[in-house]
């Protein structure tokens, strides 16, 4: 950068400096996410993002996965929500450490909030961390948190266009749980079409039909996560 050369040569009064900054504002979150990733790796903790629409079944999926995995992993959950601790309490009843992250008026979790939560727990006590994001199919896509894998949960009760209307979050998804399949017929929604929509946007993404109330499909999600 030539700005230090400009500092030596004195400018005349009223002269216009053209200062090249090249500062990407969005990089700040990415850098923090990388720091989070390093910290998690240092303690051997596998972190999984769980994103999805409001009411799609994120908490239910996490609960069902906890039941399956708690004998093999020491699990913690970060739960991002606007103000309540209801879901965090629901998860805590499984005997799993749960940290509620109140996002205030923000509509997504960011790497900064996750970083604060990571510092608040003793990471040496865990090897698996679920980070549940705020119900939102738009904003979380822009804010990586430092996790190893990302799950997006949608449900048939949101209608047939949910996937194609929000392509960018699916581009970031390793696994997509298509939940509430028991209601697909009542909704007139074709689960296979939703799976194909996911694959058209991101062929690397694995769509898994689930019913998080009964537990159907949860073991496939767990397998797809490599757990």
């Amino acid at each position: 950068m030539r700005s230090d050369v400009k500092d030596v040569i004195r400018a005349e009064e009223g002269e216009i400096y053209d200062v090249e900054l090249d500062v990407n504002i969005l990089r700040a979150n990415e850098r923090l996410a990388e720091e989070n990733r390093k910290m998690l790796r240092k303690y051997g903790v596998r972190a999984i993002d769980v994103m999805g629409s409001i009411g799609s079944g994120k908490t239910s999926l996490i609960e069902k996965m906890i039941v399956t995995l708690k004998d093999r992993y020491r699990i913690a959950v970060f739960k991002g929500d606007l103000t309540t601790t209801i879901d965090a309490e629901m998860i805590a009843k499984h005997g799993v450490e749960s940290v509620p992250i109140n996002t205030g008026k923000e509509c997504h979790l960011d790497a900064n909030l996750v970083s604060k939560a990571l510092r608040r727990v003793d990471l040496s006590r865990f090897d698996l961390l679920f980070i549940e994001n705020v119900g939102n199919l738009i904003c979380p896509a822009e804010f990586p948190l430092g996790s190893e894998k990302r799950i997006v949960v949608v449900s048939v009760t949101e209608g047939p266009y949910m996937v194609i209307k929000h392509p960018f979050i699916f581009m970031n998804a390793d696994i997509v749980a298509v939940n509430k399949i028991d209601l697909a017929e009542a909704m007139g929604v074709d689960v296979n079409k939703l799976k194909r929509d996911v694959r058209s946007i991101n062929p690397k993404s694995v769509p898994v039909p689930t019913n998080c109330r009964s537990g159907e499909g949860v073991s496939e999600v767990v397998k797809a996560l490599g757990l």
Binding site: A11, G14, E15, I16, Y17, D18, V19, E20, L21, D22, V23, N24, I25, L26, R27, A28, C107, I138, C139, E142, Y161, I164, P167, F168, M171, K193, D197, S200, I201, N202, P203, K204
Partner: protein, 123 residues
Amino acid sequence: MHEYSMTTQIVENVLKEAERHEAKRVVEVHLIMGNLTFLNPEQVRFWYKVLTKGTVMEKSRLRIEMKEGSIKCRRCGYEGNFSYEDDPLYHVPIPTLLCPRCRNIVEIVEGKECTIKNVKMVV
């Protein structure tokens, strides 16, 4: 979305730089915004005007250059604008990570940035 917090950061960064150079006033800020960020340039302009009031940035020109999203395929080397597939059922172009040439998965190389490129100021 998030135009307010994004513009706040833009203004903070420019003010810091202006202070470093002891600028009397800022004339122009050149911003490059990728198409794949969910930022609406009109809202950014609105917040820019609000947030620069009473500062050395007041009445400065905000030049927003939009950048198209671009992708690169590691397998066949294809580089180009973001790819869209036409869904025969919905007749809607759906953005895709599929390489239009070899159907491998591409990576997004441009379009996700919000960069303050340069700032013109009067010292």
